[in-house]
Point group: C2
Chain length 510, copies 2
């Protein structure tokens, strides 16, 4: 080794040891009689001291070193006079006796600090410099730590990681394939896998009853903030299990990861039906770090003389607790928010339960205070609360109120990034009706099994059939999901019939 220690490990107990360190020059300070240099490596920062009195020549050389120079230094560990209790090595410094410049550096185009002065584009251009920054390094370390823990956890449960090919035959999945022209067979192409779907099914057929793979997937789709052409997923498949076994297995994995990687004790996961998720949160990936659940008002407000409510399919609202003092300007902002095309409401109704006991609303001229108070009761509204209400068609209003709820959660500081609220969303519908084409589509995919108690509805009321399908959601983000596959040919045929496109899928099956 060129070094005897890293820049992160020296403590007061190492006092008087001679050490050799290698690293990058983070910053230097010239105090006349002394020159100090912070030397950085992956493990931390150690202060180097050069003394003009004891070795002027060395100190002069040190003063010529620039940021990000790569150094190898030899020196003795000494106790600092000015201790820095913000870093683990802050009690010591190295009195340098000699050093070697392993490599010089141009002045970096942005500061290599936790908060850099470099913009996104500049940092991407010089990615190898950005990767030196502690927050970026910690992301890679977290990812590594997660991967190691995932593998060991699943290995303990008898899962076997099996690598599947990257150069495969194109299979119909949701997205567009990347293709690779074949040199040996002109005009023919490999596809890069959108997921190892087909391979893991074949592995189940082959009897590998617990498979996993942390695997690269490829989808030739347009970029979005959470979508890239290539990404990595934890791919799993199990045989001879029920939905319950899968939920327990991966709930166990996630709780274990929070425990060992983030030191967070996550309680057993809540299980919410898809129906409840839509009813109380307006979406199938609810952020349950905070309540503010939807309240339906159809019964309370319909037929009470307000035409805009009477004609609405759904009237729903949330209780923004303690927001009765919102100003006209703030309420206008919220109205503008819900009217944004991405949110899609036509307007916002509010009711304030003021701290002085009065009630003030945007619908005062349509409703008596009694009706307003009756509405308040549905929300369990207290003095100081603000009710925000939307009305219109069911799906658009659920989506819009979902957005407004998240907005209010953010405004009220209820979406703490340090808090984690994972849950299962279960009992998804098996099929979705599409108005335009007047037919059902598979909500998950056409191989998803219906719940056994619903099978008989496949022909009579397909829209009421629930699926053995589930998603894991954390803080409003879908982090995983899956389903129990149909293993029975007869049932699969009934499913195809329900989908009215059995022929198409049979032709594509291998």
């Amino acid at each position: 080794m060129l070094r005897t220690k890293t820049c992160g490990e020296l403590r007061i107990s190492n006092k008087r040891e001679q050490v050799t360190l290698c690293g990058w020059l983070q910053r230097s300070r010239d105090l006349g009689g002394m020159t100090f240099i912070d030397l950085r490596d992956r493990y931390g920062i150690t202060q180097l001291a050069f003394n003009m009195d004891t070795d002027a020549a060395l100190c002069e050389r040190a003063r010529k070193l620039g940021r990000e120079f790569v150094l190898k230094i030899v020196g003795n560990v000494v106790e600092r006079s000015n201790k820095n209790n913000k870093i683990p090595t802050g009690e010591i410094e190295i009195l340098v006796s000699d050093f070697e410049v392993l490599n010089v550096s141009k002045t970096p185009p942005f500061t290599i600090e936790d908060k850099s002065d470099g913009g996104d584009e500049l940092r991407m251009k010089y990615r190898y410099l950005d990767l030196r920054r502690t927050p970026v390094r910690q992301n890679l370390e977290l990812r590594h730590h997660l991967a190691i823990e995932i593998r060991n956890y699943l290995n303990r449960l008898n899962f076997i990681e099996i690598e599947t090919p990257c150069l495969i035959k194109s299979t119909p999945e949701g997205a567009r394939d990347f293709v690779v022209p074949s040199r040996m067979n002109t005009g023919e192409f490999y596809a890069l896998p959108q997921s190892p779907q087909t391979f893991k099914q074949l592995l189940m057929v082959s009897g590998y009853d617990r498979y996993f793979q942390i695997v690269r997937c490829f989808r030739d789709e347009d970029l979005r903030a959470d979508r890239q052409p290539e990404f990595t997923q934890i791919d799993c498949e199990m045989s001879f299990v029920t939905q319950e076994d899968i939920l327990e297995t991966f709930e166990g994995l996630v709780r274990h990861l929070f425990k060992v990687v983030k030191q967070v004790d996550v309680p057993p996961l809540q299980r919410m039906t898809y129906a409840d998720a839509m009813r109380f949160y307006g979406c199938d990936k609810p952020d349950t770090r905070f309540d503010m659940t939807f309240v339906e008002l159809n019964e309370v407000v319909k037929g009470k003389g307000a035409a805009f409510f009477d004609t609405a399919e759904l009237i729903i609202g949330i209780n923004a607790k303690g927001c009765a003092d919102y100003t006209r300007k703030q309420l206008d902002e919220l109205t503008d928010f819900v009217k944004r095309p991405q949110v899609g409401a036509s307007g916002l109704t509010y009711i304030k339960f003021n701290t002085d006991g009065s009630v003030k609303s945007s619908i005062d001229k349509f409703f008596s205070e009694d009706v307003l108070r009756a509405i308040g009761q549905k929300f369990d509204a207290q003095s100081g609360d603000l009710l925000l209400i939307l009305s219109g068609e069911t799906e658009p209003m659920q989506k819009a109120l979902c957005e407004l709820r998240l907005e209010m959660g953010s405004r009220l500081g209820l979406r703490d990034p340090k808090k984690f609220a994972p849950l299962w969303v279960v009992d998804f519908p098996l099929l979705e009706w599409d108005k335009d084409t007047a037919r059902y589509y598979a909500k998950h995919h056409p191989f998803t099994s219906p719940k056994s108690e619903d099978i008989d509805k496949l022909e009579t009321s397909p829209g009421d059939v629930h699926a053995n399908a589930y998603d894991m959601v954390i803080n409003g983000v879908e982090v995983g999901g899956g389903s129990i596959r149909i293993h029975d040919r007869t049932l699969q045929n009934r499913m195809f019939q329900a989908l009215q496109h059995a022929v198409m899928f049979f032709i594509q099956s291998p």
Copy 2:
């Protein structure tokens, strides 16, 4: 779970337990009063028993089941009357009380047995059936086990696994790239990585001083037995280290893997210089499970009256101990072997030291018995030994004798597949002279550092410069290797000069 136990775990201690198993019908035997079925899953085989006397209907149903049917059975664990001590579950069987056919199966196109009757092509076509066979499954399990152990070992040494992209810019490496057309930029292409070479160097520049990745690599080359278009390698890179640190790290890894995965204690690895490997084994990946090292005879036989030796650049041989009784036919076979184009010798000289004390050779008319005995002494030949000698140009003869040595090792049973002889081959030459183009080429790659004591020869005698480059070889197979990179710009320039194509590489560097 559909099952309560696997097919591999029941023992006599489970007697009288009721269990549910799932698995594949391996085979069935109908003995009139009883029907026995072997049920197989990933974990083993359990015998099922059906009794005609106690449940004729169930027994009749069981008799209709075919090979590879997927079953779910319920029954009680009972002690077998005929125990099978060849399998861990051999003391018990399940008296089946009920079963369900989870899926039927067509008769498989080959037997799902350790030794299948299916040829390669048929087994590849039905790969999902071949994967059910125990030897194939054990290969995948071994690979999984190795990967887990490698990751944990390197993680303990502070290595961090970092995933690098698959859709990259083409970089010049040894082989042909697979390319992926870009949809967004017509006419432009991604390349699939031949290795994460560039990325790991950037990671070192970024300060991730111990990187690894078990990673897919892609090379668009023609297929060979040991070469596929995509393959997985353990990719590593370290900063601030010497060659010695790398050898120790990966020697430690390999010995650990042999210990935990194969329960084999491998002693510290031999280190053999490239020069010795060529001199004693004729290649840079010697199979050291057996000796039979080369002996050079130039001094002993030249100028003794045999023109075919006098004109040869190199005369070398091996001692096939105990083979003096080889027949004319066997010696002709060996002569045919060395004359094959892949081996490339023009003929084979032999000397037999017979057990009766006589000496018999193919060169009796050229040499006296004294000369033959002098040759024998060089080989430490004993009574009963057979010397096999080749003569001609140095490199072709080394290659040919290397092949002959391996052939003799195989014939004599000296290449035990259960024995492991890993070693390091070190001190590779930095440069190789190419006669045709009359210039030097980098033996490893042009960024490999010369040994510090040889740097001054870069300009004066480049062919004598040794490199900080090393290969790990096990049983004649190169399993890994690497080099210390040049980190100094001045030295890199001298290297480019020595290669006389500095310009070309500067243009290609990023």
